[in-house]
Amino acid sequence: MATVEKTKSVEKQKSDVVLNYFRPRKKLPTVWCAGCGNGIVMSALIRAIDKLGYSKDEVAMVSGIGCTSRMPIYLDFSALHTTHGRALAFATGIKFAKPHMKVIVITGDGDCLAIGGNHFIHACRRNIDITAILINNHIYGMTGGQGSPTTPSGSISTTTPYGNVEKNFDPCKLAEAAGASFVARGTVYHTPQLEKAITKALDHNGFSLVEVISNCHTYYGRLNRRGDAVSMLNAFKENSVTTAKAKKLSPEEMEGKFLIGTLHEDDRTEFCDEYQKVVDAHMGEK
């Protein structure tokens, strides 16, 4: 029996690793709707953190306001659930004050790109070593389904009742143009790839963005007849193309599809490192 016990616990490790990371005394289940992609991202994130072997004390998790942004409440890290859109600003303070910590920002498409757009592009520009996980469900979930900067043109939301007349951002393109040194996209359907993308992002020194295409079937799905969580997940599978595969496809074949995988990577110098050089050069001066 002893052998079995041991084997069992060893083998079980990967699937229940997330259980080791819940914040003590915080009760589950989460506030999220049944089937919400947020939980899928959370478990991929935890597996990535666990794989990289960070101690819980060296991780800080920061979020703004939104369904997505509730995530840090559940996890056993130092956490700041801040004001709407400002997570990256607070996170910049933490990272700069404690450069040895791994600072992870969890943010939604509204939080990160609407009200928080400026902090987003500036964190990219500074290339500060923060990993931002942007859960893009194409809508404001928390407030009940208003349009966001990623709501596709033509889509219905409670503030675009006749179809969205605005264009939507490509957050990855924006991040790269602003200066982020690692940019990847995943979906809640492609969980192994998502885990890998997050792992790479965390391991990268510099600002890293992982955009995760996710389902808010409660609002986006319902208003746009995209069905339930399952149908939306399946749609992500059908509409996504890996960067490798994309090279072989014609523009027509790519029509209506989106890329997943690592979209950009470079090795520009990191903000805190550069600042440290200034300190080293001037420390002790009068």
């Binding site: 079980k12 589950l28 289940p29 049944a34 809640v188 969580a229």
Partner: protein, 86 residues
Amino acid sequence: MTESQAAKPATKKKGKSKYDYSNGPPPLEINLTWCKACNICIALCPTQVFEPDSDGKPAIARAEDCTQCTICWTHCPDFAITSNYK
């Protein structure tokens, strides 16, 4: 029971798992308190291991078909599924 007995891949059969759960615990553990009956695991399992119970939550109906592919538990948004084998 020895290590080799528990969850040993059986001979490969289409739609059948290479694991043999007959002597060990069930392939997966389901936390029904956390489960919100979203249906994702039931729908995505490639070998239709689950059937919905009366609350719409997953019940393991065909344990023997579970290939430990990880799909159900990496997709469960409520951390309600853990594997006993992988």
